[in-house]
Symmetry: C2
Subunit: 302 residues, 2 copies
């Protein structure tokens, strides 16, 4: 039994979640969310993305958000830096970790970041080298590791190939992402196994979207392999850009509820986490996209 | 690896789902749902409940619904019969299977069926005997096997005790139900293990509510034990009477999507299943409460 006794959750809501929101969210609300997440016990938060505001207007306030956070000791603040320009802009914000994004699907790479997988790796190489020179930890996210909206199913070998390329340029940790939520337990395990050929179990995380309701099953499947790090999104922030109206990132609340029930430690206070999700959901004028949060909030209201 | 290669789904939407709907659903719509479910490949459908219309007005048309179904060879039609009066009323409808409901929680038994667990077993005994004398298969549903809205957590020993009592009166199959959806994978496995002390793996099914978003993880956990029969509800019909606004039965669509992805055979056509869920959801003037159905319907609409 490889099931871990402790799990680290990285809340990606402020970045991966809010990035997909049409409604502009002011920097102070983003900062308020980060503060509530760290108060709830999150030990890593993916805060923002240093990317052209032309492509992602919601992240135009990246520097302002990073500057406004009252950092809590022991918490890591990560930011996306897709290229050297983004990395240089991010430096003044003193991120603990930077994230580069590659895809396991050639078509997705072309459409999402406008270059081939190989070209994306070439583009990341100097970013990784510069980050490591500054002592900043580097995470590589691999998108579409199970399925792609353009190519359909993705072979595990593709995941292995991208993991190998990221390893070659010095990326220290990889996230195996089911970007469109089409994965199911066995397929997710195959993708993880491919990643594990190049990274140790301590340097891999799972990132599952709940578009088809599969994220908790996939999380359980990965837990059973010993994977103990997961990206999740407070209140299920994010939605799915490839199926409007469908669900995006799995809700942090649902994952923490499961782990609590399994006796797996996260260090997260579920009630405070639900407050954090309610804070941002209230701002967005909707209900949290989390079944656990919905059930618990309903019970609170009596 | 005990993972089954084939799973049997019992769609309980027409009964367990619609029972909790406030809005009256005409018999012809219920019949229309049953017809669509059997066309989609469901091999067992929990159609209705022969219970006092004073308690469950939505099921007052039980005989009419059963009479209106154009039965398909190879499909089993089950009905709830909580007592001899219900059983006698059901007989003319020629059910293939009857279902009696016991609870693993004393408080839930008292509040839900107004008698102790032991009294409920005494009440079921003549029903079971009468059914078996007529050659009708008997399933026993055990509610609150993981948690209870009044007692909180339920010890696996309670599940084992109720399973033993049901076995003693001749019940042929038991369903291990997480009625309020509070279960998580390990707890569900403990409840299943307790049930397996009295019933073989072929005579046990899982019945998981998705109130806290845990149902697919719990299904995977049970699959890993070899459990190959599950109750689910088309379009996630049902809601949760103990947390209004929260989710009830797990959606058949979400479970079938997972099983398809895992290469586990169900004999169910997911597209037709989604049509069935859309049919009843359209009648109820809402969206299907299924993430897989939502994603697939959204893609269909382009």
């Amino acid at each position: 039994m490889k099931m871990p006794s402790r799990v680290k959750i990285v809340d990606v809501g402020p970045r991966d979640g809010l990035q997909n929101e049409k409604q502009p969210v002011p920097a102070e609300v983003k900062i308020g969310l980060v503060h509530r997440l760290q108060d709830a016990g999150l030990k890593e938060i993916e805060v923002t993305s240093f990317v052209s505001p032309k492509w992602v207007p919601q992240m135009a306030d990246a520097a302002e958000v990073m500057a406004g956070i009252q950092r809590k000791p022991g918490v890591r603040y990560s930011v996306l830096t897709p290229n050297m320009k983004g990395f240089e802009a991010a430096l003044a914000s003193r991120p603990d970790e930077i994230v580069v994004f590659a895809a396991a699907s050639e078509a997705f790479s072309q459409r999402n970041i406008n270059c081939s997988i190989a070209e994306s790796i070439d583009r990341f190489a100097p970013v990784v080298a510069a980050a490591k020179a500054k002592g900043i930890y580097v995470r590589g996210a691999i998108s579409c590791t199970v399925g792609c909206p353009y190519e359909g199913e993705i072979a595990p070998e593709r995941v292995g190939m991208v993991a190998r390329l990221l390893k070659q340029i010095g990326v220290q940790h990889i996230g195996v992402a089911d970007t469109i939520g089409v994965g199911t337990p066995v397929k997710v395990q195959r993708a993880m196994e491919a990643a594990l050929q190049h990274y140790s179990i301590d340097d891999i995380s799972g990132h599952f979207h709940d578009t088809y309701g599969q994220a908790l099953g996939n999380t359980l499947a990965a837990l059973e392999m010993g994977v103990w790090q997961y990206d999740t999104s407070s209140a299920g922030l994010g939605g799915c850009p490839y199926a409007k109206g469908a669900t995006g990132n799995v809700a942090t609340e649902d994952v923490v509820y499961m782990l609590n029930g399994m006796g797996i430690e996260t260090g997260i206070d579920l009630d405070k986490l639900i407050d954090a999700g309610k804070y941002i959901s209230d701002f967005l004028q909707r209900k949290p996209n989390s079944r656990a949060a919905t059930a618990i909030l309903t019970k609170r209201e009596g």
